[in-house]
Symmetry: C2
Subunit: 193 residues, 2 copies
C-alpha cells in the first residue's frame, strides 16, 4: 500500500492525501477494474512509441494521422510537443499533417537547434506534395525563436511558410490584454475591406 501511495504521489497534481484516497479506492475496487488499470498502464508503456515520420504518439511505425488517407497531405503543422497534436485535433480546426519537434530551441536554457527534429522536417518539406508549412510553436520567446530558425532553414524550399496569428483572444476584452498582446493586435491589424 505504501509503495502504491508513493508512486501515485509522483503523478502531476496528486498530493499525499489524494494518493492515499486513490490507493484506498484501488484497494476496495473490484479486482477486474483495478487489474484493467494496471494492464492499461502496462500496455501503453510497452506499445506506445513515436511516429517515425511526424513524431506524434503512435502504436505502430506511423501514427493514425500519417496513415489517414483523408488528411490533407499538402499541409504540415509544426508543433513543439505531441500533446499539442492532441490539443489541435480536439479543436477539429485542422485537417492536414503534423510534425512534432519534440521540444523547442531555448538558448536561455542551453537548448540548441540539435534538440529539435529539424532534419526530418527538411526531408518532408522537400516532398513535392507539400505546399504549406504552418509554424504552430508556442507564442513565447523560445517558440518564436524556434519558428524563425525553422523559417531560415527552409529558406531554400519554395513553399509557403506561415505562422499562427497573434493578437486579441476571441471573446475577451481590450482591458485584459497584456501590452505585448496589444502590440501584436496593433501591428497585425487587418484591412476590413
Amino acid at each position: 500500500m505504501e509503495d502504491l501511495v508513493s508512486l501515485l504521489k509522483k503523478l502531476p497534481g496528486i498530493g499525499r492525501r489524494s494518493a492515499e484516497r486513490l490507493a484506498f479506492h484501488i484497494l476496495t475496487a473490484p479486482s477486474d477494474e483495478a487489474l484493467a488499470l494496471a494492464d492499461a498502464i502496462r500496455h501503453l508503456k510497452t506499445t506506445a512509441r513515436y511516429c517515425s515520420r511526424c513524431f506524434n504518439f503512435a502504436e505502430d511505425d506511423l501514427c493514425y494521422i500519417c496513415t489517414d488517407a483523408k488528411r490533407d497531405s499538402s499541409k504540415i503543422c509544426v508543433v513543439e510537443q505531441p500533446k499539442d497534436v492532441i490539443l489541435l485535433e480536439s479543436s477539429g480546426l485542422y485537417n492536414g499533417l503534423y510534425h512534432v519537434l519534440m521540444g523547442c530551441i531555448d538558448p536561455l536554457s542551453g537548448v540548441g537547434p540539435d534538440a529539435i527534429k529539424m532534419d526530418n522536417l527538411l526531408e518532408r518539406a522537400a516532398d513535392d506534395g507539400v505546399k504549406e508549412i504552418i509554424l504552430a510553436t508556442n507564442p513565447t520567446a523560445a517558440g518564436d525563436g524556434t519558428a524563425l530558425y525553422i523559417a531560415e532553414q527552409l529558406a531554400k524550399v519554395s513553399i509557403k511558410i506561415t505562422r499562427l496569428a497573434r493578437g486579441l483572444a476571441s471573446g475577451g476584452s481590450l482591458e485584459y490584454a497584456s501590452r505585448n498582446t496589444l502590440a501584436d493586435a496593433f501591428g497585425g491589424r487587418r484591412d476590413m475591406r
Copy 2:
C-alpha cells in the same frame, strides 16, 4: 457614519466590511486628507465632461489628446469606452487620435446603432487628413458586430479601415487558447517570408 458606509458600499468591489473599514479610516484620518478626498470627488464630478470631438474624458471642450499637436491626426482609433482610451494610452503603443463610441451595438440586449456616436465618426472620417480608421472595439460578438456596422457605414469613404489582429496571446501557450482563438490563429496565419 452610516450614510457614508452605505454610499461607499455602492462602489464596485466594496462590500459592507470594506465600506466600514474605509469609513473608519476617513473618520480617524487627518482632516485635510479627508477633505482633499471630498474636494477631489467634487472637482472631478463638476469639471469632467466628454470631449466634443472624440468623446474621451475631458476637462475642457476638447480632450488633451485632441488638442495635442504632436499626435498623428491621420489615424483614428475607434473604441467602445473612455476607459479603453486610458488603457491604450498607458500601453504607449499608439500615437494617433481616438473616437469613443460610448457603447457598442448589442442586439441581444436591445441596443441598436443609435446608441453609438456614429454620425460624429462619419463627419470626422470625411476630413481630408484622415488616412486610416482602426476599429478597436472588443473582440466579442457585440464588438465584432459594431466593427462590421461601422465598416459598412464608412463604405463610401475611401480611407483604410482596419481591425485589431486576433490570435494567440503573446507569451501564452497553445494549451490555454480557446477553440475560437485557435480558429483565429489558423485563419489569420501570416506568411513568414
